[in-house]
């Protein structure tokens, strides 16, 4: 089943993600810049007012994510890259109909050309860590890239043609 997630910018605070579950409850997740999270369910009477809100620190959010089994790979790397100024983590999706679909990762020569490394491929539920140059890409793969902002942008340009 496809879930439509609505992203709303909260200036100065972070991001709000909203979606409606199968049972029709509206769920909101606030990702604060500080790394904390807030989870909310909206009420019956006033659809704009969040009821039952609870907060999670980034560590607690990690635990919850582990329980739920979501591959929060990129966020983990984001924590890692905080230690090194100038280094960031990004996600690049391999879109259908782009040049490298069906071709091995090595052919993109991404690291040689950009200096940024592709450290994992997220394929549906599966995560392929440290993919070798022979790994064949398919449409819908999400590449987890570590490098400078410019490097990540360059990888995106190469992969998405």
């Amino acid at each position: 089943m496809h879930v439509d997630v609505n992203e709303v910018l909260l200036p100065g605070v972070g991001l709000l993600y909203e979606f409606v579950n199968l049972e029709g409850d509206k769920v909101g997740v606030v990702a604060r810049r500080s790394g904390d999270f807030e989870l909310a369910v909206y009420g019956e009477g006033d659809p704009d007012q969040a009821q039952a809100v609870f907060r999670l620190t980034s560590e607690e959010a990690d635990v919850l994510a582990d329980i739920l089994g979501a591959p929060r790979i990129a966020e983990r790397f984001a924590d890692l890259t905080k230690e090194v100024p100038g280094l960031s983590a990004g996600q690049v999706e391999v879109l259908a109909g782009t040049p490298y679909v069906g071709r091995p990762l090595g052919e993109s020569r991404a690291r040689t050309r950009t200096g940024a490394s592709i450290v994992a491929i997220v394929r549906g539920e599966e995560v392929i860590p440290s993919p070798g140059p022979e790994k064949v890409l398919s449409a819908g793969d999400v590449l987890v890239v570590i490098g400078t902002h410019e490097g990540i942008a360059a990888v995106e340009q190469i992969v998405q043609g």
Binding site: L16, Q49, A50, R55, P85
Partner: protein
């Protein structure tokens, strides 16, 4: 080196006293800003406990407090957030400006203030306290509500408007001509656009230049550059506050996050000193005569803020109750209304007293009123974790 016992003692007692007041304010989920003001009023000349030795430190510290307040405000600012706010809420920003600056200007005119005074009072009633409100929304668990993006967007645009307003005020208050004022504003706006462009295209380079893995180095570099830019801005009559805001704007991403972390405690200290200094500069017995005017102005501008919040939340698609929550959330005025008075300097005693009384009223009443327009979270008080710092 001579260490002044009186200075250390007075300062220590003042800070301890402020911390007690802050704890008290938090107990009732209020902002400490009005209490710091009251403390200043109590300590000043004609107050209950004058502090002669700490006076010069408080005065110096107050200037640094304004610079740090604006620097951290600039650090919080990101170009994407600003453009999104502008795209969605430009009409809300105009409604907010017209509805809330007008009562202040009219009041200033009725009170017979000069052009600088009228302009200052218009700014005081216009600018909501983003510090108080952002914290309040978190405490009241409203961050995920539908009206909240509207409230935050209005706050971002108000803060941005300060960049044009402060140099205008600085020139007009100094008795400059309208041409000089226009030049000051254009200069400031040009500098803001340059700073934004710089942060957008070269922010990482600037960040690399200023940031350092060592927190102490980072603190010294950012603070040093900020004070130099603030001094230069003041020298060309653009106001030190705007200079500091520009430095904050130019830093983005990782560098901004880390700078905010190391600067926030310093900002909290010096901002408290600044609010105290404003309180100190106002003779307590001048408050009573201006109280009726302040009360009337507070009632009128609370109503106009509710109207502008209502309008902004409607654009976000919120229902009636959400609109009311947005409107009442915006009522609180605080740190920037006081910054405006700080910039006016001496010679505006009546205005200073009026604004102090006005901020005292709305910084307390705003949060209380908005509490009653939404379901009250039973556990907001005992929540030990707060991510938005003072003020």
């Amino acid at each position: 080196m001579h260490i002044s016992v009186a200075l250390l003692l007075e300062l220590g007692i003042i800070l301890t006293f402020l911390s007690l007041l802050g704890t008290l304010a938090r107990r009732f989920a209020l902002s400490p800003v009005p209490l710091y003001l009251l403390a200043g009023l109590a300590l000043g000349e004609g107050g209950i406990a004058p502090v002669p030795a700490a006076g010069s430190f408080v005065e110096t510290g107050a200037g640094i407090g304004v610079v740090l307040l604006l620097l951290v405000l600039g650090l919080d600012f990101t170009v994407p957030e600003f453009t999104v706010s502008l795209r969605r809420h430009l009409p809300s920003a105009w409604v907010d400006l017209v509805l809330n600056a007008t009562p202040g200007a009219v009041a200033g005119w009725l009170l017979g203030l000069d052009a600088g005074g009228v302009l200052a009072l218009a700014g005081v009633t216009y600018i909501s306290s983003s510090g108080i409100i952002a914290r309040l929304l978190g405490d009241l668990r409203r961050m995920s509500n539908r009206e909240t993006p509207a409230v935050l967007s209005v706050l971002v645009l108000e803060d941005f408007a300060m960049a044009a307003y402060l140099p205008l005020l600085a020139v007009v208050a100094a008795g400059g001509t309208w041409q000089q004022a226009l030049l000051g504003v254009l200069l400031a706006l040009g500098a803001v656009v340059a700073a934004l462009a710089m942060s957008y295209w070269w922010g990482h380079h600037l960040g690399r230049l200023l940031s350092h893995p060592d927190a102490e180095q980072l603190l010294l570099r950012v603070l040093g550059v900020t004070l130099v830019v603030a001094a230069l801005a003041e020298a060309v009559h653009v106001s030190a506050a705007v200079g500091a805001f520009l430095v904050g704007l130019s830093l983005t991403g990782e560098a901004a996050d880390r700078a905010r972390k190391v600067l926030s405690p310093l900002r909290d200290l010096f901002a408290a000193v600044f609010f105290l200094a404003i309180g100190l500069s106002i003779p307590p017995d001048s408050l009573l005569p201006v109280l009726p005017a302040a009360l009337l102005l507070a009632v009128v501008t609370a109503a106009t803020k509710v109207a502008s919040g209502w309008y902004a939340a409607r654009r976000e698609g919120a229902g009636g109750r959400g609109r009311l929550r947005a409107g009442t959330a915006l009522i609180a005025r605080g740190e920037f209304s006081i910054v405006i008075i700080g910039l006016m300097g001496t010679g505006h005693d009546r205005l200073g007293a009026l604004v102090a009384a006005y901020v005292l009223l709305l910084a307390v009443a705003g949060p209380v009123i908005t509490r009653f327009t939404g379901p009250r979270p039973s556990d907001a008080r005992r929540s030990p974790r707060r991510s938005t710092p003072v003020p």
